[in-house]
């Protein structure tokens, strides 16, 4: 199959998946008892009956389910994610406001997890009976076993409460809104440390184990023996031949894990008050703000699908065997 064909097929599957996600989620949210009018009344400390009727009319909540669904699908079809009932702004705008924070958190934590994870994995594979290997085993056990929110809270207790090194939460010291871009960036980086480390902790464990396992496998293969036999230096054998060939599984897993990273980010954002999509999603769900929840789900499915397609492409790039198939 040619490259174009594969891409077309992937995009086709992706679209079907997207529609399924939209219909399923819309149905689930609508059949849950209560609606945004109840949430708004809750937020306002009660409301007169006429106010609630007006809210329901305004947002078409009094319409039959099928017509609500149809209306939503047709607006999504033209890339209009609708209007947030709760925040009175367009959903696209709400998402775009929050997106940078989430992307920053996800990508920085993934870069940290992959780089440190691979490094630890390689070190462990190199000396299977060393202390490093023991550390990796312990770390991965811990990383897998500890829920993210717990790691987050633990870090807060340690580095905010007991030894105040880092700020409690948030993304930037609000007093710096007039400061220079450089100063703001430094402050954001300072706020980023704990949430980034927290979110990275699980994946660090995952990636280091994965690298170690796949390195050990590769190191046992014939071409490595050949490489050594022809007198290559050990470092070259390691990094040029072994590492490159053991990265395949890592890329696959990193791509597949992307959806898990996004849901992990929801929890980490809540713990660290990080103003991203996750906190928005949480608030929107609690407020039964259907357009916002749907918008976030739509958007995150889109991102996950795109990342998966991208992963396929990267795999083709680094592994000639897939290209040859």
């Amino acid at each position: 199959m040619g490259f174009g064909q594969i891409l077309a097929k992937r995009v086709g599957y992706g679209l079907v998946l997207l529609i399924a996600v939209v219909v399923l989620n819309f149905t689930l949210i609508t059949i849950a008892p209560g609606d945004v009018a109840d949430a708004i009344a809750g937020d306002m400390g009660g409301a007169d009956a006429s106010v609630l009727v007006e809210i329901r009319q305004r947002y078409g909540l009094d319409q039959p389910f099928m017509s609500q669904l149809w209306r939503y699908l047709s607006s999504v079809a033209v890339m209009d994610l609708g209007y947030s009932y709760f925040y009175n702004t367009s959903v696209t705008e709400l998402i775009l406001q929050r997106l940078p924070a989430t992307l920053l958190l996800i990508f920085s934590s993934q870069i940290l997890a992959i780089s440190v994870g691979v490094l630890l994995g390689v070190m462990a594979a190199r000396k299977p009976n060393s202390l490093v290997n023991l550390c990796v085993t312990f770390l991965s056990l811990f990383g897998f076993a500890a829920p993210v929110f717990w790691t987050g809270i633990l870090l807060i207790i340690l580095f905010v409460s007991v030894h105040p090194v880092f700020p409690v939460g948030g993304m930037m010291n609000a007093a710096l809104i007039d400061a220079s871009f450089f100063e703001q960036s430094i402050n954001i980086a300072y706020h980023l440390v704990l949430p980034m480390v927290t979110l990275a902790s699980i994946y660090l464990a995952l990636y280091s184990r994965l690298t170690r396992a796949s390195m050990q496998e590769v190191l046992g293969s014939d071409y490595i023996r050949t490489a050594r036999a022809k007198g290559l230096r050990e470092n070259k054998v390691f990094y040029k031949h072994a590492l490159k060939n053991s990265l395949g599984p890592l890329v696959t897993v990193a791509g597949l894990q992307f959806s898990a990273v996004m849901s992990g980010a929801v929890v980490v954002e809540a713990v660290f008050n990080w103003p991203g999509l996750g906190t928005l999603a949480l608030q929107a769900i609690l407020a039964r703000d259907t357009p916002t929840i749907m918008g976030i789900l739509f958007f995150s499915s889109l991102v996950v699908i795109v990342v998966n397609i991208f992963t396929d492409l990267v795999l083709r790039m680094i592994d000639p065997r897939i290209r040859a198939e």
Partner: protein
Amino acid sequence: MKLAFKSLFAATAVAALMATSATADEPKTGGTLTMAIQQTPRHLNPAVQSGTATGVPGTQLFASLLRYDEGWEPQPYLAESWDVSADGLSVTVNLVKDAVFHDGVPITSEDVAFSIDTVKANHPFKSMFAPVTEVATPDAHTAVIKLSKPHPALLLAMSSQLLAIIPKHVYGDGQDPKTHPANSENVVGSGPFKLVEFKKGEHVILERNENYFMDGLPYLDRIVMRIMPDDSTRAIALESGELQMSGFESSPRNIVRLKKNADLKVSNAGYAAIGPVNWLAFNTKAEKLSDPMVRKAIAYAVDREFINKALNMGTAPTALTGIHPGSPFYDETVEAYDVDLAKANQLLDAAGYNKGSDGMRFGLSIDYGWPAMKPYAEYMKPQLKKIGIDVTVRSSADFPTWAKRISTWDFDMTMDNVFNWGDPVIGVHRTYSSDNIKEGVIWSNTQQYSNDRVDAIMEEAGATNDPAKRTALYAELQQILADELPLYPIFASPYHTVSSISAVGNASDSIWGTSTPLDRVYLK
């Protein structure tokens, strides 16, 4: 202005007196106060949105006609004086002469009339201005509010977040005020602070209004309100000094913890007008609970003292009635139903519900709507088992689920927390009025309780300005309700204002909590 000066002087004097325990600081101008708010406001305009999420930043941006001191006495604000006519059918308000909005446009009686109309048409609490028939504007600084009947709630409804004076030249452009863009961006009010930035989910940043109509105020240059929904995160931030102040703190565990910190003032002064009362509500139309004897038996079985000591860790005031204990109308002489299991058992026997072979008489369910209410609901299970009631605790996934169940009367009992919102007319009548049994409306009369005498008392108390008469009527109301028990009041939410002693002076102790102009707060 004379009156305003006088009240300013009085307030400063009171504050100075209260500060004697620390150091007698003089208020200083300048500085940035960092405080917390707990939820993202939908927007910042209290004229069309109730609730304290909007109220705390909203009262900094928008001034109202009156403000209230700690003793429930109205004080001049945008209104330099006011006069209620002898028949109670008109209230004349004289505006401060030199007040301007944030954009420099003078505030006139037209704006007052426009604001009252907008609030009347759009605010969720219809009872606040329902009797207003017309707002006349004989001159630029005089507004005359005409009423169809005397309306005792009017003055409180003219204060704090309940009546934001909004500019007609901004909101009168024909757009729906509920979704007006100026509710969140480029907000134009006349309060002590102007909007710098409102970032949803992150913060509201305010800066000093240099043209504020109260001379010499506000003291602060800036207020940063960080949106921090998590109780423990706020507690840590208060301890580490990242936050200098936080209002509406209500987690008993955190309050006790923060009280141990020598630099934190943890005060429960104020909040009486917000008036949050927590109770165990009964669905009086449910089979077993329609019998007042059963409701009384449950009241005798529940140990209010235990709840307040163990679950609230002594942080919350006891509430014997649905009117907040800090309200001038609170009647503490009602039947308290001190725990008496023998009596509770007797009542149930008399009601004809005998214990079965397993020691149980019948089953009831109890709901709760949000996590903070869970311990109280769970407490009921073992406690009511002692009198042979098999309680099932039913949780709801989120607030709307609970609200739907309760407001469609699909419940036996529920833990609930309802706010008084100033005058009983606004926040208390709605719970008991038989006109307000409305399907699908949370915090209406979801108990489905109906009593003609109760309706008559509320109508009379809502149409007289005579405080003595109102006190007597509300006392009678509370006695009847304590006897018929459509709900069993337990405690008032332990709202506390936490502030740094070394950094913050005049931390608010208003009856509206921190949902009040913070123009006298200063940094030491």
